[in-house]
């Protein structure tokens, strides 16, 4: 077993700009108001993830989950501390980001695969699988602009879920598309997990986390509040209280 993610006191600060134009800034200065503020979205977070682990990242809205995920995926750099990863980080993040609406679904698949870091040969190898997964039939050769939102989502998912990753991150409810498509996604996620790929999964759904993960990290206002067993993490968040049977984040209840 080797370490695939290592975060060492990772901190990311954001500047909140209250005013943008010169006039507003001047007025605010005159009145003695603050023109901007800084806060730590992720605050001194440290943890390590071993290969093959499946980690659920939980926390209330605004607790810094997405920022931490962006630090892991490399979209953002920490202001202090270090975040190291091994191998390719990919997964269900921003599926469909970078689609060119005027270009056909097929061309968008190639482009999207390249954006996610796949080489030409790799895309060619996986193309059939991706097309099969998206299952868009004849529509694959029409411009994406004519797609329904569900079709667009399937296209994005089909590429993202078929990228071979060493660290697979998922930041989206898997509740896109119809029931058969959802089932297909779940199936594929299970395969990824069984392949020994490290999974980093953001969710609000205790059911989905219980099913997918063997460890939970809980963020509280940017700080790491809990790191450990799934059940304990969920009760730490008090997510086990009240009814949570009806949350449908795709992976959880719907089986």
């Amino acid at each position: 077993m080797s370490t695939v993610i290592r975060a060492e006191s990772v901190t990311k600060a954001f500047t909140m700009q209250y005013h943008r134009s010169l006039k507003q800034i001047a007025l605010a200065k005159m009145r003695g108001m603050k023109t901007h503020d800084r806060f730590n979205a992720v605050d001194e977070v440290s943890f390590t993830v071993q290969q093959g682990e499946s980690v659920g990242l939980m926390g209330l809205n605004g607790s810094g989950k997405s920022t931490l995920l962006k630090l892991v995926s490399g979209v953002m750099q920490p202001d202090s501390g270090q975040l190291l990863t091994r191998g390719r980080v990919a997964g269900l993040i921003a599926t469909g980001a970078g689609f060119q609406p005027e270009v056909s679904g097929r061309d968008n698949l190639w482009l999207n695969a390249a954006i996610l870091g796949m080489s030409e040969a790799e895309t060619r190898r996986k193309m059939e699988e991706i097309l099969d997964f998206a299952d868009l039939g004849k529509f694959i050769d029409t411009p994406v602009v004519y797609y329904s939102s569900g079709m667009k989502a399937r296209l994005g998912f089909a590429v993202a879920i078929n990228v071979e990753a060493d660290i697979f991150i998922a930041d989206e409810a898997l509740a896109v598309g119809d029931r058969p498509f959802k089932r297909k996604c779940k199936e594929r996620m299970r395969e990824i997990r069984e392949n020994g790929t490290t999974i980093f999964f953001v969710s609000h759904s205790p059911g989905a986390v219980k099913q997918m993960c063997d460890r939970v990290l809980v963020l509280e206002k940017g700080k790491l509040g809990f790191d450990g067993d799934v059940e304990d993490g969920i009760s730490y968040l008090h997510y086990d209280e009240g009814e949570d049977g009806d949350d449908d984040e795709g992976l959880g209840s719907d089986d």
Binding site: G74, V75, R86, G87, G98, I115, E122
Partner: protein, 311 residues
């Protein structure tokens, strides 16, 4: 297996790879290799450029023909107005139409690169804030798309010149390529500089728009370079300052390629209409543009880390 090899073929032999002692090491999750990273991911760059080009004429019946029709019509219009109607240029700047289009080609390339490049980060916001792609990719892609759309104009210039009896010369062609290279490098440098500034203050795209409005008039295109020398013959440094503009220099190089050989007396045109040491000046400009590009990259890398949160 190094990281870059790993990126090429991750997980292909997952089972044997675990056993291998030389698997990829832990590295910082975000890379910051600047333009080198763009070069490393040139396959993505190629797809991005291709789909942007495709998108422009999507849904049209004539498709790519439009990229010839538009500049072609513009050229005919200018030719009619300036050469036939006003009689601009007379014998001195004959053939004026070629003189003009040499300028138009490069001004088009420059303004499209600079304007589009400045907006490129903001307009690709959805990608940049969510996926780890080298951000330099977008200004570079804009420059290449602009180049792609400039090529039809070069072809039209070439065609018109051939009809007028143009014979290519080695120096001329080299000069023309040098002109294109200067604009490409300079446009990219300015795009890097302004695109990242535009993320912090959207004013910069307005600044770019304002600046590019001057371009047409700051280059010898609707007037010959000799006019600048003549009008300011008493204050010679004006022409020197004028020539410090890399775009003007590039336009002159392009005219050296197509227009000079077509004038009544090319030998005289070289002396009277072109500055001395044109080509060596051009080489210096290209070197300066490259230095500018390096500096722009330094500035870009410095500000880039704040880009995702400010978009």
């Amino acid at each position: 297996m190094t990281i870059s090899e790993e990126r090429q073929a991750p997980g292909r032999h997952r089972a044997d790879r675990v056993a291998e002692p030389s698997e990829p090491t832990l590295t910082p999750s975000s890379h910051n290799n600047g333009l080198l990273e763009v070069f490393r991911r040139r396959y993505l760059l190629r797809l991005l450029v291709r789909s942007t080009v495709q998108a422009r004429y999507q849904g049209t019946v004539l498709g790519w023909i439009w990229s010839y029709v538009q500049p072609g019509v513009r050229f005919c219009m200018y030719y009619f107005v300036f050469q036939i109607l006003i009689g601009r240029g007379g014998t001195e700047v004959y053939p004026f139409a070629i003189h003009l289009i040499c300028g138009m080609v490069l001004v088009h390339f420059f303004t499209e690169t600079f304007n589009g490049g400045t907006r490129s980060l903001v307009s690709n916001r959805s990608l940049i804030v969510k996926l780890p792609v080298p951000r330099e990719l977008f200004p570079v892609a804009t420059m290449l798309v602009a180049f792609w759309h400039t090529m039809p104009m070069v072809v039209i210039t070439l065609g018109a010149s051939l009809i007028l009896g143009w014979t290519p010369s080695l120096v001329g062609i080299a000069a023309g390529m040098l002109g294109l290279a200067i604009i490409g490098v300079l446009g990219l440098a300015l795009s890097l500089l302004f695109s990242v500034a535009n993320v912090f203050f959207r004013d910069f795209s307005k600044v770019t728009q304002t600046l590019t409005q001057f371009t047409t008039f700051s280059v010898p295109m609707i007037y010959p370079y000799s006019l600048v020398e003549d009008r300011f013959s008493r204050i010679p440094w004006v022409a020197d300052v004028y020539l410090l503009n890399p775009v003007a220099e590039a336009v002159l190089l392009m005219q050296r390629c197509f227009w000079v050989p077509l004038t009544r007396d090319p030998e005289a045109a070289l002396v009277e209409q072109m500055p001395a040491d044109l080509v060596s000046r051009g080489l210096v400009m290209l070197a300066l543009s490259l230095v500018g590009l390096a500096l722009a990259q330094v500035w870009f890398s410095k500000l880039e880390r704040r880009v995702p949160e400010r978009l």
